[in-house]
């Protein structure tokens, strides 16, 4: 069976090795230069002081101390962190909750369900920049579509993005509109894997929709729920584009929409107003964000996986 291969391998072992090596080299070089090396450096640079692009000296945990315990940096850090946490909770409830209902509705495979799948996924393929600007225009206090619509039923002009109490919610709404299709179709795929017999058997036992949804489908789609939860968490903590486009680099108004991604970018690459750039503190923030995301993901994966097994 293997004669041919053994023959070439034995006759020209160096040729075979060279062939394999040349297949692997381009991908490995790119990965080492632009993933492995930057990632390892990211941890190292967090312990250095910087002058422009150049690390000038080892400062231990100084950068971490500043962003965590020294005002005003620490205030900015916790203010941003708070908004990331709010975003995660809001997206879990409103985005994934809606997605679950939509997925269940699509599972019925009523006439037109395919078109509905294509429609709900359409915004997902658009750039966050387009979505952000579009909703920024629609949320304009005077001429925006939202307030023009509300005016028809007599509700006065609300400055959605200008008001501290509504700004974050408005941006989250745009984000949900953008991404809703993703969890919907992931959960739908999970539901479609629940065997038809199980559902039929439950129906014959007299289970209604509510019981079917809560007792049969919900537990059986646990793997999909795990994935959606983790991706939502990662997305909430790396959130950047839509806040940047809709609320600007400083998370206006007055930091009401500031998130860690914006704060990190401002620290590392300079805000438009102050122009201050600090790679040391920026690296410390990046390392902390990395630890939050990797740590919570690992713990959540363990906990959620255990839940899957118990069921």
């Amino acid at each position: 069976m293997n004669i041919g291969r053994r023959h070439t391998a034995k006759a020209f072992p160096w040729r075979r090795s060279l062939w394999i090596a040349s297949l692997l080299t381009p991908a490995l070089v790119v990965m080492v230069l632009f993933v492995l090396w930057p990632l390892l450096s990211a941890f190292r640079l967090a312990f250095y002081e910087f002058n422009g692009l150049q690390p000038t000296g080892f400062v231990g945990f100084e950068n971490f101390r500043k962003v965590l315990f020294e005002t005003p940096y620490s205030d900015w850090t916790y203010n941003a962190l708070k908004h990331n946490i709010i975003a995660f909770v809001a997206l879990m409830v409103f985005e994934n909750g809606t997605a679950f209902l939509l997925a269940y509705a699509l599972l019925k495979a009523l006439p037109g369900h395919r078109i509905h799948q294509v429609i709900v996924f359409l915004p997902v393929v658009l750039s966050a920049v387009i979505v952000g600007f579009l909703w920024k225009l629609f949320l304009h206090p005077l001429f925006g579509l939202v307030n023009q619509t509300l005016a028809l039923v007599g509700i006065g002009a609300i400055p959605w993005l200008g008001n501290e109490s509504t700004a974050l919610g408005s941006i989250l709404f745009a984000n949900i509109w953008h991404w809703l299709g993703f969890p919907t179709l992931v959960l739908l795929a999970g539901m479609q894997r629940v065997s038809k017999e199980v559902i039929e058997a439950a129906r014959l036992d007299g289970a209604g929709d509510y019981v079917l949804m809560t007792r049969i489908i919900w537990p059986l789609i646990a793997p999909s729920v795990t994935i959606v939860t983790i991706l939502t968490f990662i997305g909430s903590f790396n959130w950047f584009e839509i806040p940047y486009v809709m609320a600007g680099l400083t998370g206006s108004p007055g930091g009401a929409t500031d998130v860690l991604g914006l704060y990190f970018y401002r620290t590392a690459f300079g805000s438009t107003t102050t122009g201050i750039q600090d790679f040391g503190q920026g690296s410390a923030l990046a390392v902390m964000m990395f630890i939050i995301v990797a740590g919570v993901t690992a713990i959540a994966l363990r906990y959620l996986r255990r839940r899957e097994i118990e069921l």
Binding site: I20, A27, F121, F133, L180, S283, V287
Partner: protein
């Protein structure tokens, strides 16, 4: 008996009606904003402000003409097309080569190499942007097409290697063995026998990478400063800054920016959905 069955049918009908209503409502929420964006692109400012819900008085292309001639829009569009095409082509090339070596040959370290690629899937490269920026600066690649493309290639390789390795492993051994007996070179076996069979996986990998690269804003924001090198999403921010008060032109810019990917999506919606949700759906 028949009455209970009848009432159950009626109940089912009512429930299905409610479901259809919910789906229809959702479709309106998804589509109507995009519809308004498109019709507004034909309107003048006065029309948008005074009659936001009405159809445009004429389908004039004045706004589109202004976007075309007064801004760098065409340049941004061309940059995005070029960068996405080259990056995706390199991802396909490099990942398929590496995956082919891992999947079709037995050699020492092969498991380790695969592990190395797979661990790259978990790395959020955005968080390593500072050292990445310094690295590209050292190589003289900041503010260049090449720098941006290389970052995208590095980001795309891990999951592409994962998908391609999985796929190439499923191809039967007999095919290459018989070609080898016939004296075909290893390159010829790969190029003419194995790779044509891998086309479905290549399509998935291409879409999975093309969409986020096409839409990306973060990396150009950090790495590109010359206006002539800017990508479409990045260029939109410049454009919006210039035309803040001219909503007709703004809506036209957004419409034109959304148009290419929307058209491709409508044609290839199935592949798009499976490409983008790949990884979350097993």
């Amino acid at each position: 008996m028949s009455t209970t069955a009848g009432s159950r049918d009626r109940g089912e009908l009512l429930k299905n009606g409610a479901i259809q209503l919910m789906l229809a409502l959702n479709a309106v929420i998804m589509i109507y904003p995009l519809f308004v964006m498109v019709i507004s692109s034909f309107k003048t400012n006065a029309e948008i402000f005074s009659s936001p819900f009405a159809m445009p008085s004429s389908f004039s292309l004045t706004n589109a003409e202004r976007v075309w001639t007064e801004t760098n829009f065409v340049r941004y569009l061309a940059n995005s097309v070029g960068i996405t095409t080259v990056a995706v082509a390199l991802i396909l090339l490099f990942s398929t080569m590496a995956a082919y070596a891992i999947a079709r040959y037995r050699f020492r370290l092969s498991a380790l190499v695969l592990m190395f690629f797979l661990s790259g899937m978990t790395v959020p490269l955005k968080l390593a942007i500072i050292p990445l920026f310094i690295q590209l600066d050292t190589l003289g690649l900041v503010d260049s097409y090449a720098g941006l493309v290389l970052v995208y290639v590095a980001m795309g390789i891990p999951s592409a290697v994962f998908i391609m390795t999985g796929f190439l492993r499923t191809l039967p051994r007999e095919l290459e063995e018989s070609a080898r007996m016939d004296g075909a070179s290893e390159f010829r076996i790969m190029r003419s026998i194995m790779l044509p069979l891998a086309r479905p996986a290549l399509v998935i990998v291409a879409i999975q990478n093309a969409v986020p690269i096409w839409n990306d804003f973060f990396f150009p924001l950090v790495l590109i400063t010359s206006d002539n090198l800017k990508t479409l999403p990045q260029g939109l921010t410049v454009f919006v800054g210039e035309f803040t008060t001219d909503w007709g032109v703004l809506f036209t810019g957004l419409t034109l920016a959304a148009l290419p990917i929307t058209l491709v999506y409508i044609v290839l919606s199935k592949q798009f959905i499976s490409g983008i949700t790949q990884g979350a759906v097993k």
